[in-house]
């Protein structure tokens, strides 16, 4: 495995008295697809949000591309990063959400160029040109000037993917991106993700789509109750699980 893009060591996260992550250690290789599976409430999404510092962690260390997330280390001391530094770190990490979170007051293209223009200070015309390309890449050339409310869920989620890609991220985080979609719209989003994986994008994917995990993932991580139960290539974890908890979870999921 090449140098890991995302590396976690003993990551713990508490919300009040509830500990959601109880020591997560894992590595997501550069150019690889890592799928996080597990029952709801197992901490998958929280872990994903820790990677781009939408949540801060209480213990352990997280690195993205060799840089510590949220802190700077000098000797044995940790210094919190300034807001601008945190923002700069996040600009290199793309994230797609379950509820799309498109900006409803902006058209598809305005959604896509917002961050390149505002964060990267890219020339607006250049951003629009590149934004059109990104929207074309997800198959939405004809929806460039539509407002999100006029798009289907699948189209909205593809705009959200284009919006994240427009920042040229080093890694893409997907947080249950098909869970809010009607069944017939799931495939169009998964197709875009499949293509992205084929192009060598580093991806960390929280999902319930077992078929996607089996086909696309290089590494599958099964989480339960804030810990990693089992991890490995999909053929091992999904087809020959060693742990009882993995078997139970897969049994529940595959029954459908």
């Amino acid at each position: 495995m090449s140098e890991p893009m995302v590396k976690a060591e003993g990551v713990r996260k508490r919300f009040g008295r509830l500990e959601v992550l109880k020591g997560i250690s894992l590595e997501a290789g550069t150019g690889e697809v890592t799928c996080l599976l597990g029952p709801s409430g197992s901490g998958k999404s929280t872990f994903l949000r820790c990677i781009n510092h939408l949540e801060n962690i209480n213990a352990g260390r997280l690195w993205v591309d060799g840089n510590l997330v949220g802190y700077r280390q000098a000797g044995n001391k940790l210094y919190e990063l300034r807001e601008a530094e945190i923002a700069r770190g996040r600009a290199q990490i793309g994230m797609v959400f379950q509820s799309f979170n498109l900006f409803p007051h902006k058209t598809a293209i305005e959604n896509v160029i917002e961050a390149p223009v505002q964060v990267k200070r890219m020339n607006k015309n250049e951003a629009i040109g590149r934004g059109r390309e990104q929207l074309g890449r997800v198959g939405l050339d004809d929806k460039v000037d539509e407002y999100p409310a006029r798009l289907s869920g699948g189209q909205q989620q593809r705009v959200a993917i284009a919006r994240a890609l427009a920042m040229d991220p080093k890694v893409m985080l997907f947080d249950e991106v098909t869970s809010a979609l009607d069944p017939e719209l799931v495939q169009e989003v998964l197709d875009v993700m499949r293509e992205l994986a084929g192009e060598g994008m580093t991806m960390v994917v929280v999902t319930h789509e077992m078929g996607f995990a089996r086909d696309v993932a290089d590494e599958v991580v099964l989480m339960d109750d804030g810990v990693i139960v089992e991890q490995g290539p999909p053929a091992e974890v999904l087809d020959n699980p060693r742990e009882e908890r993995t078997k139970r979870f897969l049994g529940l999921v595959l029954e459908h």
Partner: protein, 332 residues
Amino acid sequence: MARQADATDEIAAAEPPGEIQAVPVRHPGRWIAAAIVAVLAVSIANSVITNPNFQWGVVGDFLFDHRILHGVVVTLELTVIAMAIGIAGGIILAVMRLSPNPLVSGASQFYIWFFRGTPVLVQIVFWFYIAALYPSIDLGIPFGPSFIHLDANSLITAFVAAILALGLNEAAYMSEIVRAGIISVDEGQTDAAHALGMTRLQTMRRIVLPQAMRVIIPPTGNETISMLKTTSLVAFIALAELFYTAQLIYAVNYKTIPLLIVVSLWYLFMTSILSVGQYYIERYYGRGRSRTVSLTPWQRIRQGLLPRHVEREEIDETIDQARMRRGGGEHR
């Protein structure tokens, strides 16, 4: 929902029934009510026209009197400047109120408590007499040397006192309106903006506030209309806005009622203009929200579009969707 499904069942049944031509239900109550309203309206209109005490001739003489027009301008100036202070101050106070720093949010809360808790008329008079409290105003380092020395008596004119009182009081109310708007924006929007590398300030300015505007505009329109009328309170400190100007005139010629009518007509005219403005601003900030952008009244007149037509299409769409959900798309 259940009703719709029933309707679909009927549509799906073999023979589609013809156009409905039922006998409409009679509404005698409505006719009686309409008759009462009509009689009342006619009698009021009659009294307004025939009662000589209204002195409509005098109203006409003074409606465009240059003093009255000047009063209108002063009223508009007060309204615009006070609302500008109120909105700017309201945004600052709302953002302060949402700050994680308890001292900052506490200061905002204290401000709101103080200015909402005292009558605006008292505040107006208070500002007018501020020179009695602080005869001079010094700008400089707190407890240190002062750079600028100002005489409060000459600085705080009636106009300045009025603007300060109305604007600062308005800021307290506006801050609650702005805060409600900010809270109404889904947190996912902030998440998405942060994930793209936008700072808190960028997120607030580019993503949250524009969406909050949809919630902020209607009550702000209300506040502006209310402010336009509240400016009449500054008659108390002898500032010649619309109402005080009228008072000055009828104090001399004793045409009290006609001049009050002149004033009322002007207030009605200005609030009507504001309402129209509010409609267009709301429309602007509502963009991207509804599936179909509603037409302005003018567009509707030009296109001669009946709203009924749109409704019909929407109903058809709903029935189609219901049909699809039941898996019977073939019957068309």
